[in-house]
Every structure is written in structure tokens, then in C-alpha cells.
Amino acid sequence: MAVPVNPKPFLNNLTGKPVIVKLKWGMEYQGYLASVDSYMNLQLANAEEIIDGQNAGQLGEILIRCNNVLYIRGVPEDEEMENAGGGPGG
């Protein structure tokens, strides 16, 4: 049985790691979670926009306003690099 993890510690532990943020409007942003604040505004580094499951552009450093976020999920490190490289296999 897992020890309960609350939202704020979950987010703090996720900083510095690759994440995918899904917005309420359907788009997603993949990047390294640089920082979070008390409102859960998000800062991503090396962010890329994913629309309909397809890469729609590299944005670099972005701030996402908290109200747009549907969820945040951690992405395994090697998967993030594969997506960024766009290489075959997997």
C-alpha cells in the first residue's frame, strides 16, 4: 500500500523532470518542469506543443497560466528524449 502523496509535494518532486501538461482546451505541452507556484502556475523549459498527438512546434521556455491546466503527468526520462529526437523504434 503506497504512502499517500499530496498534490503540492507531488508537484515539488516533479520539478526538474520531464512532464506533459494537458490543457482543458485539448493541447498538451511537453517539457521540463522548471517551477510551480502556490496557484500551480507552471513554468516549462524546452517545451514543445502537442496538438492531436502530433508535435506542433518548439516553444522553449513557457509560463502556463494555472486556470488552463487539466492535468500534469510525469514522463519517463528516456521516453522524453525519444519524443524530442523523433527517432524510430519504441
Binding site: N12, L23, A34, S35, D37, N41, Q43, I62, L63, R65
Partner: protein, 103 residues
Amino acid sequence: MAAAAAGREEEESAVREPLDLIRLSLDERIYVKLRSDRELRGKLHAYDQHLNMILGDVEEVVTTVEIDDETYEEIVRTTRRVVPFLFVRGDGVILVSPPLRTT
């Protein structure tokens, strides 16, 4: 060892907040993605915690998709306008970033 690690974690959460890094973009050109399929590129003069912003020399791009009744073809149009000085209400903001060089 554990105390040092805990100290480092505390420092990380106290120093870097998302809005602190927008502050570094003051007087720089930025890209803002808004609701209603709008994008802005302009110089950031001011902002607040709501992400209300004052932008100067800003270009707004509105993207619309028309669907032809007969062919069901999707026609993507963009409409541009330039505004010298603009107040943006924060609740319409989706994301903020230094401008992309690709488009």
C-alpha cells in the same frame, strides 16, 4: 547529508517561481497565446499576478478555420493587426513565452 539535501530543496522552491521569470522578460518582446485562437507578439511593459499585461508595438494574429459546406474542406485563415499599445486582461491568457523565431 539529508539536512543538506533538504536545505537545497527549500532554496529551490523559494527562489524560482514561474512569475519571477516573467519579470525577467520585462521590456523584452514576448509571445502570448490567448483564448479564442489568438496570439500576440509585443514588448512587455508591465504585468501582474493575474497575468494582466501591458504590451507595446504588438501584432495580434487571429486564426479561424472555415469548413466548406460542399467539399468539407478546412480553410485556415489568419487575420493580423498591429496595435501600438494594448492592455490584455489576464483571464484570457493561456501561455507566455519569449518569441519563437520560426514564424
